[in-house]
């Protein structure tokens, strides 16, 4: 479970000299095994056994399991042609590193796994654009700096509980870059390139960092990120243009805001962000045929897990906004409560625009198929987590049954309408889709990225040697 993805990476490396058809089959088998492994981690998140210094919490297992499954799915679904095997091999290394990062009980172990993941991600990103590479390297260096500073300040080797306020800001900024909250940077800087397979893992590291080490709720920070999400949605709608590198901020910002605002929404909000980022990665290869499925995921409509997360957070925010307490806190909760319906309506608008965007465009059958799989998964995940989790905030079991029946009746009505009237109504397109380029950076960018990675590696090596000298285990 913990090292399996590295084994898959070795298998893919070993297949590099085999003929193309054989290598293609090997990549496909490895991809399905990786997807199954990720889903298994999600399904058994409450009872994962510990192994040496690795012990995965339920929340982290759910987030990482879904991210790993999405990454292997991207390895199979994106139009990578001859790049597929090496992208898969690096994804395998990064997947194991992410699992170790999320499960490590010792800071040194976490740093070592983070370093392995950084190297894999840097190798992929270096062939996919300087801006994405530099921003990912900067976020990794920031994370390393925060974790090393925590060890030095506490003089303890165990993984931190909740970080000090002083370290909170750099951690949140690093997590935001890695997650994709900056337009056309981080994972959004490598869209349309082979390194896009790493995007769910890059995002997962950012989400796990917040879930593990940040004391929540943080309503002010959540309100800020929610405002960013609404601003991005408004920008896309008013310009009548959807650029995946910009619109991709929407699902991450929405999920991130819900994560910061509600501890209870941690898993559904994180899954919503990961699934949203994955569907954005598929966008360039499924521009026309994937419009509807992408629209439904990005809109955050019921009964997807995105809506579950919104429901949980809205309820919590409302209760806190109407309770007595610190005036600043109450004001922040009022702002969150007021912004959530606006964000929800913005999601509907983004969904409509995404569904009515101009075709034709990139078409890769596997990518289109995966957008539908992701839509189905985001619906099933809400039900699979049980009525007390996602649907608990919406009325429990009866709510799940009602939404299930409503969807079934809706599907039946659609089928009847399609067969009885044979109607194909094609409304005029509402907007265009164009994948913009990340910022063009000079030769200094790779040099700086390498310097940051070397700096992070040096800090990791220093703290590891110091820990071994003191016998941290």
């Amino acid at each position: 479970m913990f090292l399996g993805h590295a084994v898959l990476a070795l298998v893919l490396l070993a297949s590099s000299r085999t003929p193309d058809p054989v290598r293609g089959r090997i990549v496909r088998v490895a991809g399905w095994v990786g997807v199954a492994s990720g889903l298994w981690m999600f399904a058994t998140r409450d009872s994962l056994p510990a192994w040496r210094g690795l012990e995965m919490g339920a929340q982290e297992a759910a987030i990482v399991g879904v991210a790993v499954a999405c990454t292997w799915g991207l390895v199979m679904a994106l139009d990578l042609a001859t790049d597929r095997w090496w992208a898969g091999a690096l994804a395998g290394v990064a997947a194991t590193a992410t699992v170790g990062f999320a499960a490590g009980r010792w800071t040194i172990l976490i740093l070592l796994f983070l370093g392995c993941g950084s190297v894999a991600m840097a190798l992929a990103a270096s062939r996919s654009g300087r801006a994405g590479w530099l921003s990912l390297a900067a976020s990794d260096a920031g994370l390393v700096a925060v974790l090393v500073a925590d060890v030095v300040s506490r003089d303890e080797w165990g993984a931190p509980g909740n970080l000090d306020d002083l370290l909170l800001v750099p951690l949140l900024v690093s997590g935001a870059v890695r997650a994709g909250l900056f337009v056309r940077l981080g994972p959004l800087g490598v869209l349309g390139r082979p390194a896009a397979v790493m995007a769910p893992l890059a995002l997962a590291v950012g989400l796990v960092s917040v879930a593990r080490w940040v004391e929540r709720p943080l309503p002010l920070a959540g309100a800020g990120v929610l405002l960013l999400a609404i601003a991005i949605a408004a920008w896309c709608v008013l310009r009548r243009s959807l650029d995946p590198g910009i619109a991709g901020v929407w699902p991450v910002a929405l999920g991130g805001a819900l994560l910061l605002t509600s501890d209870r929404a941690t898993v559904p909000a994180s899954i919503a962000a990961v699934v949203g980022m994955t569907i954005v990665c598929l966008w360039p290869d499924a521009i026309e045929r994937g419009r509807l499925s992408r629209a439904l995921v990005l809109s955050g409509l019921a009964p997807t897990i995105v809506f579950g997360a919104i429901g949980i957070t809205a309820r919590e925010a409302f209760v806190r906004a109407t309770s007595d307490g610190d005036a600043v806190d109450v004001a922040a909760w009022v702002v969150v409560s007021a912004l959530l319906p606006i964000a929800f309506a913005s999601g509907v608008a983004i969904g409509i625009y995404s569904a009515r965007s101009k075709g034709p465009g990139g078409y890769h059958p596997e990518a289109v198929f995966m957008t539908w799989v992701l839509l189905g998964s985001s619906i099933v995940a809400g039900f699979a987590m049980g009525p007390s989790e996602v649907y608990g905030a919406l009325g429990g079991g009866p709510a799940a049954v009602t939404f299930g029946v409503a969807i079934a009746l809706g599907a039946a009505a659609a089928l009847r309408a399609a067969t009885s009237t044979g109607e194909v109504h094609r409304p005029a397109a509402s907007c265009s889709v164009m994948l913009g380029s990340p910022p063009r950076l000079g030769i200094w960018a790779p040099a700086l990225a390498i310097a940051l990675l070397v700096g992070g590696a040096s800090a990791t090596a220093w703290i590891t040697v110091r820990g071994l000298q003191q016998g941290f285990l």
């Binding site: 509807l292 809506f307 608008a349 009515r356 709510a399």
Partner: protein
Amino acid sequence: MSSSAAVAARVAGAIGALGYLVGVVDGPVIGALAGLALVAFGRGLLAPAGAELLGPACFGVLAGAAGSAALRWGTLDLPEIQGAQGVLGPTVVVEPVSVAVMSGAALVASTLALGIWIGEPEQGRSLTRWWWVELAAGALLLATLFCGPPPSDLGQAGIWLGAAAAVGALAAVIGPPAAKLRLGMRYSIVGLCAAVVAAAAVASGTLS
């Protein structure tokens, strides 16, 4: 594909919303709004170019109205909002007077938004009569929030359903003439409705 998806979203949304509004689910108003959001999405898929965002905007007004009523009673749960009205009276008449007046204004504004939304001409040949169900869901939501005691006896049920019928009838009357207005004018009216509802929410949150 768009036609089928629009049908699926509209049917599923209206049924989901009605599930909450008629009491099949004892849950928060968020659930009913989720259903109406699906309706907005479905209608937006087939709306004429330029009018596709009218639905989400009107939905936003209804969501704001729901927030205003929820703030008035300090709860998001529909049964609790109805229960409070059963004891104290409809939201639009319970003191303080300023909050009651603003709640009434929110009800009128959201009814207007509902009328503009539902009055948008149907596109395609499917679901030409389904707007009745969507109108019923929207009207029931507003009646439940602003003048809906729990239907514990015939009299209370009559008040609730009568209020819903009145809201629905008003929206149905507003709809067709509103659809003849220029698009910019309709967006402006919805924006004005949103401002009224936001003011009502502020009044409910601070003065209740």
